[in-house]
């Protein structure tokens, strides 16, 4: 029973965790930039520090999501994607999320690279 509950949680976190992590990173990161770089802004926010922290944290949560997805996938790898629920459904989402989460990891990584390579608030 407990195992089932855990699988269920893992499946949903594996499906949504990375996505939410990236959303938070994008929104907060954007907000920080607006707050720092607008005429009325500049609350002495160190944008770089903020962005780096955001990226590390978001990256960590996204990695956990990937781990959860892999865990569920392995736990259900004997199944087909259209097998009866709930395990068939868990396998279905896990097997897709294993690939999908990579995208969020890549977005977080790339934006991190880009931010470190540029000085804050400079126009292009």
């Amino acid at each position: 029973m407990r195992r089932l509950v855990r699988l269920e949680l893992f499946q949903w976190y594996g499906l949504l965790g990375a996505a939410i992590a990236w959303t938070v990173q994008l929104v907060l990161g954007y907000g920080v930039t607006v707050a720092r770089c607008s005429t009325g802004g500049d609350f002495g926010l160190a944008v770089d520090t903020w962005e780096v922290v955001l990226i590390v944290v978001a990256g960590a949560f996204a990695l956990l999501g990937e781990a959860a997805a892999i865990a569920v996938f392995l736990a259900t790898r004997t199944l087909e994607h259209d097998d009866p629920p709930p395990d068939g459904r868990r396998h279905f989402f896990a097997s897709a999320a294993v690939v999908g989460n990579v995208l969020f990891l890549m977005i977080i990584l790339l934006s991190g690279v880009g931010i470190l390579a540029n000085s804050p608030c400079h126009q292009s």
Partner: protein, 337 residues
Amino acid sequence: MSGDSVRRRRRRRRLVLPVTLLVPLLVAGCGDQNVLDPHSHAERRISKLWWVMMTGAWIGFGLVVVLLFLGWVRRNRSTLPFGGGERAATALVVGLGVAVPIVLLSGLFVWSDIFVIRATDAPRRGSTSLNVRVTGHQWYWEIKYPGTSAVTANELHIPIDTRVRVVGTTADVIHSLWVPELNRKVDVIPGRDNVMLLDADRPGTYPGQCAEFCGLQHAHMEIRVIAESNQRFRAWLAAEAAPAAANASRGAEVFMDEACSGCHQIRGTDARGQVGPDLTHFGSRTMIGAGVLPNDREHLLEWIRDPQHSKPGNRMPGLKLSDADLRALVAYLEGLK
């Protein structure tokens, strides 16, 4: 069924292959606003970016078309060409649809958005020897050279081989400043000073259009960058900064007495209007009405007689002038070198 499919494939190849070859040929070196005919360092980097992306794009496109073609050729066999069924196909989807694109796109991201961008981004304050202030109006460009009293319109003179820091802003709505052969574009937005780099590596005239929809005459808002040797530029700037030579002609009277002087400024006279472009050295310009007409006697007559004909909706009214006055006025304006 199959007959159709044959024709379909042939048709598609007939359509695709020539185009693949044609696009570069057609695009390179025709028209005078050609993005792919770069005349500056920044634009060269951009067009290189384009050629690489286009090549990659055609390869990817070819791959998909080949696969569809394969689908028709092997329409009666339900295995992959080299054997293998569902599992192999799924692996291919993950490989071609996820792994390969991620690598390619990351590469493109790093190259364009971290390196190429360095060549095209806004020059920092004080990093250039020349600054120009460009202000968008409905529907013409006002050009000022900070540090001098030079004010002109629609024709932006720059010295060659010099990094020029262009600060763009607007007097009314959003416009977008773009000279395709010299650099990327920048929107000019109320309350913002947006900065762009301009430099040209050889003398010439580089036209560009307002790129952001700005109302009725968005189509007629041309800007020309005229790049010339440094001393010719200095001479031009000195002349442009000077006020208009004193002139007591009939044309001057007409200009002062009629509505003209209410909207246009001619430095050195009583005409101080700020609605239309500054006309102090109008005679030395090449266009009328931001590109609707070339600047010569006949077209100027036509323009002043009825500005609403050649540029409907622009701010300049047609004045009921006697023919004599009209000719005198034109003579005066043409004389403002």
